[in-house]
């Protein structure tokens, strides 16, 4: 350091190993005896669906969680990693999916943040900037060190995150779904950088659920499913099909009772729907779907591929930038949520506490939401509390909602009962089109069965249902047809009888299928 002011001290790591890692959260075994190792000069990918335990394992390696069992070895020696700071001192760095940058500071300031200055109490930003430029040249990470972060594109911000980790001398880099936020061109650039890093002797852990990326980048792949290791194999022995069925778990299918139902007209149709997501990037890239009355169309896909935005477009909450929505043949594009609800749409949103209910409102206040301005709940200017109480009691009973009273604030209810309440509210309105997003996420088995039965009942009543779920079992047991969404595009639509874990897994990993439509 004293002789060469611009050198980065690389903390050399030849191998990072995790042995028999177990991590429990209340009610969940997130990691069940996982073994994982990565060596200098290789990319080891970690593949799995949501909830497979990828992020938990990485957070343990990075010191954000402590394992309940198992040990971590760096260069063959057992170490305890108590915090991210510990991890950094062992040469382990992480590039988070959600960037941790201060938007108003420059690239240089962000990278220097929290590090001692080479000039003691004086800032050494010019020194830092020079080092950043050197690093950027080595790893193909073009960046202007003087630019404030808020001016940078998402791809550039990611470069800053990577530089931040490299600057701190990390030789193991954990990349948590780094391509999720990038455009295809930016992905190419990132891959060039990653190849360069491997050539320089870094060890990379690449977390993804995209099959082609894993195939293109890795030397080795470990597949996780529901917290357990499905297997580890060198890339030469892997192909997309094999990885797909490993990722979704098993080869056998559980089918539930699915009586024949006469299907009618197309009652929900999406034509070329495009929309921008929360980050301002295009999250839906021309979605076409047609669902008939009496039909449940299951929309499968790994989360964050546009499902939520699609549901919001249908519910009138997100304006599409192109395309049309037809309900029962009527063009309803651009209608307000209120108008759509009156037209017979019911929507069960995925975040039931955030989008679905008002926590401080009572059970009955939540049950009447949307219909609160009409008889029998309101007459003239006042609300009719007698009718509200009567109807609430009836719904609480029919839908088996466990609550001390109808005046109890809903935030005191369990998740299953809150979901039953939402279901009661949405179904009792007699919808003709139902959009159900992750209707059983986080529910116990009994509540799950209950919710699924209620949704199937709607099908028999001729309701047109779009079921959005990350739970393949749910999709397979409820749907008549299954569509798979990947990065805002429909990869294909298959009949329930033609669905296999292999073809669904391939589509979920980004492979387009030829389908009948």
């Amino acid at each position: 350091m004293t002789t060469d002011q611009t050198a980065i001290n690389l903390i050399k790591v030849d191998s990072l190993e995790a042995r028999g890692i177990v991590k429990r959260f209340p009610g969940v075994l997130a990691n069940d005896h996982i073994d994982f190792e990565v060596h200098a000069g290789e990319v080891h990918s970690l593949l799995g669906e949501n909830g497979a335990g990828k992020s938990t394992l990485m957070k343990i390696l990075y010191g954000m969680y402590q394992p309940d069992e198992g040990e971590i070895l760096v260069n063959g020696k057992v170490v305890r990693i108590r915090s991210p700071l510990d991890a950094m001192s062992h040469g382990i760095g992480m590039v988070h999916q959600h960037f941790m940058l201060v938007p108003t500071l420059t690239v240089t300031e962000n990278i220097a943040l929290g590090l001692p200055s080479s000039r003691k109490v004086l800032l050494d930003l010019d020194v830092v900037a020079r080092r950043i430029e050197e690093l950027a040249a080595i790893y193909h990470l073009q960046i202007n060190p003087k630019a404030p972060v808020w001016q940078l594109s998402v791809g550039e911000q990611q470069r800053v995150e990577i530089l931040k980790v490299l600057y701190r001398g990390a030789s193991v880099l954990i990349l948590d779904e780094p391509t999720a936020v990038l455009t295809p061109q930016e992905v190419d650039g990132l891959f060039k950088t990653l190849h360069k890093m491997v050539a320089q002797g870094h060890a990379l852990v690449f977390i993804s659920h995209k099959l082609w990326e894993v195939m293109a980048l890795s030397n080795r792949v470990t597949v996780l499913h529901t917290g357990r290791m499905v297997g580890e194999l060198p890339i030469e022995e892997a192909d997309e099909r094999k990885l797909a069925s490993m990722m979704v778990g098993r080869d056998f299918l559980m089918r539930v009772d699915h009586p024949e139902v006469e299907m009618g007209e197309v009652h929900l149709e999406l034509k070329g729907i495009r929309a921008l997501g929360e980050s301002g990037l295009e999250s839906l890239k021309g979605v076409d779907l047609r669902i008939r009355s009496g039909e449940i169309l299951g929309l499968a896909g790994v989360s964050g591929n546009g499902q939520r935005d699609l549901a919001e477009v249908i519910a009138g909450l997100r304006p599409p930038t192109a395309g049309e929505v037809f309900m029962e043949g009527v063009d309803v594009t651009g209608w307000t949520p209120a108008k759509l609800l009156e037209h017979g749409l019911s929507y069960i949103p995925e975040a039931r506490m955030v989008d679905g209910t008002v926590g401080d409102f009572s059970v009955s206040e939540n049950l009447i939401m949307k219909d609160h301005t009409y008889p029998p709940y309101a007459d003239g200017i006042f609300m009719n509390f007698k009718n509200i109480a009567k109807e609430s009691k009836r719904l609480v009973e029919t839908f088996d909602i466990k609550t001390p009273s109808i005046a109890t604030p809903i935030k005191n209810l369990s998740g299953g009962n809150i979901q039953k309440l939402i279901l009661a509210r949405e179904i009792s309105r007699g919808p003709r089109v139902l959009v159900a997003a992750q209707p059983t996420r986080g529910l116990d088995i009994r509540a799950t069965e209950y919710v699924r039965r209620r949704i199937t009942e709607q099908r028999e009543k001729g309701v047109t249902t779009l079921l959005i779920s990350e739970d393949l079992d749910e999709i397979l047991s409820l749907s008549d047809r299954i569509a798979v969404i990947f990065e805002g595009e429909i990869m294909g639509v298959v009949d329930r009888d033609d669905a296999t874990f292999e073809n669904l897994g391939l589509m979920m990993g980004g492979r387009k299928m030829e389908t009948e439509e």
């Binding site: 519910a315 909450l317 307000t336 949520p337 209120a338 108008k339 759509l340 609800l341 009156e342 929507y347 949103p349 955030v354 989008d355 679905g356 209910t357 008002v358 926590g359 401080d360 409102f361 206040e365 939401m369 949307k370 609160h372 301005t373 709940y377 309101a378 200017i381 006042f382 609300m383 005191n412």
Partner: protein, 354 residues
Amino acid sequence: MRYKLEKRPVQNPWLQTLAVFIGLAAALGVSCLLIISAGANVGEALTAIFNGSFGDWDALAETLVQATPLIFCGMAIVIAFRARVWNIGAEGQFFAGAMVAILVAMNLSFLPRPLLIFAIILGAMVGGAIWGGIPGFLKARFNANEIITTVMMNYIIMFFLSYLLSSVWREPGHFFLQTARIPGAAQLPVVASGTRLHFGFILSLISGLFAYLLLWKTPLGYEIRAVGINPVAAQYKGISIKKITILTMIISGAIAGLAGGSEVTGLHFRLRLDISTGYGYTGIIIALLGRLHPVGVIIAAIFFGALVNGSTSMQIITGVPVALVYCVEAIVLIFVLSADIISRYRIRRVRDVK
């Protein structure tokens, strides 16, 4: 073994009520220190405040006179804050209401008295509604931060009024910045003879009843509360947040405007710049102390009215300056709100898990 501070999963209403009293007691304690530091006898000072505010009918009536604008402004704030619309502009809406009331009183005095008073009340509400509705519209249409716009609107109307009072509205031939006295027919009737307690107090109670019915008995109030607690869910269920924002600001502004109309036609009979001692801002304190509930607002407003009223006696008898009472108001707010927040938490002993 260690201790952990955690949020109570279920709030205990008794504990929250108790917290208010503990907060008040603590505030009283600190206030006594202030009285002592001002060189007075605590017992004497407190007795003077109490006798001056509740000691006899006259004192009580004057306390209610002081409480009237606070009840109005508190209600205005309750309605806005329930929708999580941060109306800091009740002060400006107060003056907008007062200005329209003066216009009506001066120009329509030929009307029969009941009709004239009705027109004054309506005019005051319209004035406040417009002054509140503008920031409401700006928020709904351009997402302009209502905290900033409502405060700015306060300045606009104060300087505009100041200009009017120094020019066209100034009482002819007089030095002070004030309008002429309004005719007797335009003055709100006194409701307790021999005191200054006027019809505005009754109106303020009606505004409280209105706020209660609106918020808890009508679909619109339901939507206001839903938007305030969870705007996302409200929107998902078809409630238009823009519509609620504008309506809430209009209603809130109308009530604050009525406060101005009531003060100017019930108490001062002319418009000056000092007819409000910051009622619009004190209304925020009142609303928060009253837990955003009309009944709480009335209690808090009478309490503050009593402090202001009683402080005059305190100054006369003990020489402690009236300004002390404004300190006390702030101290009460800090302690009661702190006690309220603390009551939402509990300390639990946890065993370390090996």
